[in-house]
């Protein structure tokens, strides 16, 4: 890839520091900072209007930031570097934006020429194979389903072998099968070392695909690996389910090693706040057996990325009401 030439490749594929974009008095996003390494799949989450798409457009040099700085694919984000940055990245916007009167191949040919890719015929064939559309090259894009159009847009984004690939809601409006195909393609790209900046509403998608995620709600609310975010936001917990309600749960769970507290979660279900589940779980098992309880299950309580997301967004909503 171009960015590797001459040993100019920097450590981070994207480095963003204090980036802000305002439209008049309206703040699209503010004081956003993060760093993404080469080959990383980075999820960018947030509610509608949080500034995700505007961030992608800003990093893609389509719009200028109001303040702050960034380097994209190792190149400082300045108006003079726009062409050079766009040469090294690809953006797949939420709407595929295909020329519907043109065939798939004609669409890709146009973009291969705009990126000035060498040997465009071969590159187009490879891109179409990558999205399993080799047999549809001569179909008019207007005749394709939404899922197939999305795949053509992905093929278009792959034409230039980008260092950084921005995917803005790539599975928006797709049925589960088409969405799964896109997920598989992202997995394949990750294996081939492409840096992917993925904005999405689908939290299970981010959890499954992304090495790290950031949650944006005009300002950056949090950033980290999905499991890190869970640990940061929620106390570790064990869920204990018994055959029948315990007559005196306080005497069973009180004073157990690594158990900080407990509460009844259902008729015969208990939630234990723990500092270390590897110590607390065996201790709780022994205590339950000693108390003659019929144990159905003891398991670590798992918070999903969705829980993290909702917790943070709810905090923002509460704060804005005050």
């Amino acid at each position: 890839m171009d960015s590797q030439e001459g040993g100019q490749r920097s450590a981070a594929a994207l480095h963003v520091h204090g980036l802000t974009k305002r439209f008049g008095t309206r703040v699209a996003f503010e004081d956003v900072s993060f760093e993404i390494g080469y080959g990383e799949v980075f999820g960018f989450l947030g509610p509608n209007g949080a500034g995700k798409t505007t961030t992608v457009r800003t990093l893609g040099t389509l719009i200028a930031p109001t303040s702050g700085s960034a380097t994209v694919a190792g190149i400082p984000l300045t108006p003079e570097n726009g062409v050079e940055i766009r040469r090294r990245i690809s953006i797949m916007p939420e709407s595929p934006g295909l020329y519907l009167r043109l065939s798939v191949a004609e669409n890709l040919q146009c973009f291969a020429d705009l990126y000035e890719v060498p040997d465009p015929g071969d590159r187009i064939e490879r891109a179409l194979r990558a999205v399993s559309l080799a047999g549809r090259a001569h179909d008019a894009c207007g005749a394709l389903s939404k899922g197939l159009r999305q795949r053509v847009a992905l093929a278009r984004a792959l034409l230039s072998d980008p260092d950084v690939l921005f995917l803005d809601e790539p599975t928006s409006g797709l049925d589960p099968v088409a969405a799964r195909d896109v997920h598989e393609l992202i997995d394949t790209l990750r294996r081939s070392g492409v840096t992917i900046f993925l904005t999405t509403h689908r939290l299970e998608e981010a959890e499954r695909l992304c090495d790290r995620v950031a949650i944006l709600n005009t300002t950056l609310r949090t950033i980290g690996r999905p499991d890190e975010l869970r640990d940061r936001l929620f106390a570790r917990a064990l869920t204990v389910r018994t055959l029948a309600p315990l007559p005196d749960p306080g005497s069973v769970f009180g004073g157990l090693a690594a158990v900080d507290g407990w509460h009844q979660d259902g008729p015969a279900s208990y939630l234990l706040a723990v500092s270390d589940s590897t110590i607390a779980a065996p201790a709780a098992t022994r205590a339950l057996v000693a108390a003659g309880a019929g144990v159905l299950s003891i398991g670590e309580s798992r918070h999903s990325l969705e829980d993290v997301y909702l917790e943070l967004i709810n905090q923002d909503t509460e704060a804005s009401r005050r």
Binding site: R57, G97, Y99, R101, E106
Partner: protein, 240 residues
Amino acid sequence: MSISTRRVRAIFRKELREYRRNKSIVTGMAIFPLIFLIQPLVVVFVLPTSAAGQLAHEHLLLYMLGIPALVPAMLAAYSVVGERQQGTLEPVLGTPIRREELLLGKALASFVPSVAVAYAVYAFFLACVELFAHPGVAPALLQGPYIAAQLIFTPLLAAWSVWLGIAISARSSDVRVAQQLGVLASLPPVLVTSLIAFNAIHATPGLALGLAAALLVLDGLGWRLTSAAFNRERLITGTR
């Protein structure tokens, strides 16, 4: 700043393919030339041989300069706002293309077919006059200065209309409004040629040269001015 001919060619080719498959554009490109062809044809065919000498003073052929003034304006006015409405502008602007390259590609795609149509209609008209008009009409009508004016002013007027159309298109949010404004903005040159055709303005070689020089300068400035007015951010976000 270097211009990539490959990128300009890519936009040019893509635009031509789109125009060819867009019925409303094909219809528009057919209607304007017909309007400007029928009137002079009718005049020429109903004119008796005895009145043929009168043609030498009527500048009938200048009507046909309406074709290069209006057809490219309609095409160019579609070029930017049409892409914006289809949602295809953002992916294109996300590539390494410079705005000058994009605009040059779009301008050529409006200019080349318009000039080709204008010359073809003009050639068709001359052939009809030569073959079917009453004797005496053709020699009175087909005079060197008129033919030269047509050949020279056709590309000059077309280029002016193209830049005007693209500038309007880049500032509009609706295709039809842009096309109507584009055609409207191209009317002044049509008015000037009409005034000459009606002898309200006396056509002289000096006037023709002056107009041609002015158009040449405007055409040269058009690319730079339209490029400067082309705001990537405004087109993407719709902000004013």
